[in-house]
């Protein structure tokens, strides 16, 4: 498991901005914990764990952006929003980021708020809004579902990358002067490509799961009368 994945490292963004985003992330996560508890049933608990593990593995695929030395990787926000819903999805991403920072030294601990805001809050929120919108508009076929997953993943990745550019503009520790536009451009173009890869992976995964076990796809579940649980309900999971 040699990996070179890297989230925002300590010292890239200054302290006050990091603290501000840590507060934003904490508030968002508190809300997600509150709402996610209602979602987490016997089917969603193992699913949430697997989605987190999947995203953990997938985030290790890393694409260096050598022109600026910043690297990009798959985020998994759309996959999480699709399979476990926005609240538990945001928690999954946050768990992945916290464990990566604590156990793998990936991403500065003091910068966790920034990363969680970008990937756990912004990406998941954008993806879920798009999913809710597109599922209403597109035909309810596997192709429609695939397009929804692809677009949600692509757009959420690019928007999350812009979240980093915004944070760098607010509190980057080195003044890039006119080169900030360059950073924005590099991030946008590279994450467009990453977004395409992420879109393909998200679409194939979601469509396969939806074909075999449609009950496992949260985004589809919300739009149907809830079927009785196939798993014996055992109390105390929350």
């Amino acid at each position: 498991m040699e990996n070179l994945a890297m989230h925002i490292s300590n010292g890239i963004i200054n302290g006050p901005v990091a603290a501000l985003f840590a507060v934003i992330a904490l508030v968002a996560m508190a809300l997600a914990v509150h709402r996610g508890r209602q979602d987490l049933d016997d089917r969603l608990a193992p699913m949430a764990g697997l989605v987190a593990a999947f995203i953990f593995a997938v985030q290790m695929l890393n694409f260096p952006i050598f022109t600026a030395g910043v690297s990009g990787h798959l985020l998994g926000g759309a996959l999480a929003a699709m399979l476990v819903g926005p609240w538990v999805g945001a928690l999954c991403i946050a768990v992945v980021l916290v464990v990566q920072a604590l156990v793998f030294g990936d991403g500065g601990v003091a910068m966790l708020g920034l990363s969680i805001t970008n990937m756990g809050v912004i990406a998941v929120a954008v993806a879920y809004l798009l999913i809710a919108l597109l599922l209403r508009v597109l035909p309810r076929t596997p192709a429609g579902l695939a397009v929804t997953a692809f677009v949600a993943a692509l757009v959420s990745v690019v928007v999350a990358a812009m979240g980093f550019v915004l944070q760098y503009w607010l509190g980057g520790t080195a003044d890039l002067g006119g080169n900030l536009a360059g950073l924005a451009g590099t991030m946008a173009v590279s994450h467009l490509f990453i977004g395409i890869g992420e879109g393909l992976i998200t679409a194939t995964t979601v469509v396969t799961v939806a074909k075999v076990r449609p009950d496992l796809v949260y985004a589809l579940r919300a739009r149907k009368p809830v079927s009785p649980a196939s798993v014996p309900a055992v109390g105390g999971v929350r």
């Binding site: 070179l4 994945a5 890297m6 490292s9 300590n10 010292g11 890239i12 302290g15 914990v33 996610g36 987490l40 016997d42 608990a45 193992p46 699913m47 949430a48 764990g49 697997l50 593990a53 999947f54 953990f56 593995a57 260096p64 600026a68 030395g69 910043v70 690297s71 538990v88 928690l91 999954c92 768990v95 992945v96 464990v99 604590l102 156990v103 793998f104 030294g105 990936d106 500065g108 601990v109 003091a110 910068m111 980057g172 520790t173 080195a174 003044d175 890039l176 002067g177 006119g178 080169n179 992976i201 194939t204 995964t205 396969t208 799961v209 075999v212 496992l216 798993v231 999971v237 929350r238």
Partner: protein
């Protein structure tokens, strides 16, 4: 899946640092990192002091400097970014070895390099001395919401399920005459990823149901929780490093 609860970065040993309860180590590591990040970047001596603290803890934990350095390679992408800064940075310029470099960019590069490296070292020391199981116990004792520790527990267990399943599927593909070279693999990889997810989920679901039938209630057994919770003495011992770092950071802030 028989690998137990250790992970790649864990160094099996019985040092004083290994014996500290996990919640104490997590708190100390986070506090130390915050102190490092809050230090003004021009206070070069402060970063030397932090590096010394890391070295002392590493020696106590019997983690070799060589291991720390090789594992720091995770930082490489950001190091490259740091090296680009003096060239693309704004502001007044100085001449170093015939290159016109931005002073602002040089400071920025130093800032990222020093704080990033110290942060990675601190995380690596935590990782080297704490198993993933202990990490979850530590987070639980630090009053982390149960839904989060639950997701984290499942994530760490299913990671093994996922890796094992991927290996089995790869062997199955090869044994059916697939050519597992990279470009050839892409199509199979794309087609297999959905199947991998489903197979891993079904295995994971069985693991989960087995856990439920053995009395799992969303929290790891009390045996893990109660025994070995940190004593005041242990908190005080572990607090020495972040307290020292905090003092250094405060002094540096006053001096610059």
């Amino acid at each position: 899946m028989g690998a137990g609860h250790a992970h790649v970065l864990y160094r099996e040993s019985d040092s004083p640092v290994h014996r500290l309860p996990p919640e104490v180590k997590i708190a100390a590591m986070v506090a130390f990192t915050v102190a490092v990040v809050a230090t003004p970047r021009a206070a070069f001596w402060a970063f030397g002091a932090y590096a010394l603290m890391v070295a002392v803890v590493a020696a106590l934990a019997r983690v070799s400097p060589r291991w720390l350095l090789t594992r720091s390679a995770i930082e490489v992408p950001f190091v490259l970014f740091a090296f680009a800064l003096p060239i693309i940075g704004a502001g007044e310029r100085v001449d170093v070895l015939g290159l016109s470099l931005s002073t602002e960019g040089l400071y920025g590069a130093w800032n990222i390099l020093a704080k990033g490296t110290l942060g990675v070292w601190a995380s690596l020391l935590l990782a080297a001395t704490t198993t993933t199981r202990d990490l979850i116990v530590g987070l639980d004792r630090l009053r982390c919401p149960q839904i989060i520790t639950q997701i984290a527990t499942f994530m760490l267990r299913y990671l093994d399920v996922l890796v094992g399943e991927a290996r089995r599927m790869r062997v199955a593909r090869i044994s059916r005459g697939d050519d597992p070279r990279f470009l050839w693999q892409l199509r199979g990889f794309a087609a297999g990823i959905g199947a991998l997810f489903l197979r891993a989920f079904e295995r994971g679901e069985r693991v989960y149901l087995a856990m439920l039938s053995r009395g799992y209630t969303g929290r790891m057994p009390a045996v893990w929780q109660g025994a070995g919770a940190a004593t005041t003495g242990q908190w005080l011992v572990a607090a020495t490093v972040p307290l020292l770092a905090g003092t250094v950071a405060a002094t540096a802030a006053v001096l610059t």
